[in-house]
């Protein structure tokens, strides 16, 4: 087992166990911290897959911005394990069984598929130069549209979050 396999299995176990921690921990703050750890593990997988730019963007955008937003909201609301609403046991078991059944069905369907193995030679398609060229030639229209999406999301968040006047 080379360093590649060792880091693959380490990151896989870390991602899966932290993802389980997200849904199983009672305290919402712990859930957020587990989710950040999951995102770091996924970023490690991106580096193994030669997608260095996406690894950095994943850490900056997800772990740095989105999860901090979650953490702020949870701390502003002062949520903790005592105020955590719990579904009854039956609904929880039903959710776990249906999720596990989906996993089993797709796993069984894909188990015998033959897909070529990934070669471990490093490619440069994940580097910022290559991605930037693709983004600004082939995908320039979706890029511009996403700026409109961001503007509308920003305005929407401000309008929704505003203190209500007398309606």
């Amino acid at each position: 087992m080379g360093i590649y396999e060792i880091s693959f299995w380490f990151l896989t176990v870390m991602a899966l166990s932290c993802a389980l921690g997200v849904i199983l921990s009672r305290n919402p703050v712990n859930s957020v911290l587990f989710l950040i750890a999951t995102f770091f593990a996924i970023s490690g997988h991106y580096i193994l897959l030669n997608a260095q730019f996406l690894a950095i963007v994943n850490i900056i955008v997800y772990a740095g911005a989105i999860m901090v937003l979650f953490l702020f909201v949870i701390m502003l609301m002062n949520l903790n394990a005592d105020t955590e609403p719990q579904k009854n046991r039956l609904v929880q078991i039903a959710g776990a069984i249906s999720g596990g059944t989906l996993l089993l069905v797709i796993l069984a369907a894909l188990r015998t598929s033959t897909i070529t193995s990934l070669d471990q030679t490093s490619t440069d398609i994940g580097l910022i130069k290559n991605l930037g060229k693709t983004l600004f030639t082939q995908f320039v229209l979706p890029f511009e549209i996403s700026s409109v999406l961001f503007l509308s999301a920003m305005i929407g968040a401000v309008v929704i979050g505003k203190k209500e006047q007398t309606v």
Partner: protein
């Protein structure tokens, strides 16, 4: 490393996120589980991008991140407003949609 391993890993992450979305009643945790499912898809896209040696899949991942960021901003604003009105983040209270 066979690409199936990445397929199974992202499938497992997706199913964990789905289980969490069904098992929890806290609206913020449900939101976080949706983020987890989006990230599972991202991981699979990057694996396929490496498999086909194509940069387009990584651009799609980039756009998924953009949409997720916009979604989180609006969604958290809605949750904060709901908390101001009913002082709870329980999604069972949302089923009335009108206080």
């Amino acid at each position: 490393m066979p690409v199936q391993y990445y397929l199974f890993l992202s499938l497992a992450l997706f199913c964990i996120g789905m289980m969490g979305a069904m098992m929890r009643r806290n609206a913020i945790i449900v939101f976080m589980c949706i983020e987890l499912m989006l990230n599972a898809v991202n991981l699979l896209m990057v694996a396929f991008s490496k498999m086909y040696n194509d940069a387009a899949a990584q651009i799609f991942v980039f756009f998924i991140m953009v949409v997720a960021a916009a979604e989180v901003a609006v969604g958290l604003a809605i949750i904060v407003m709901m908390y101001r009105k009913v002082h709870s983040v329980d999604i069972n209270i949302l089923n009335r949609l009108k206080h």
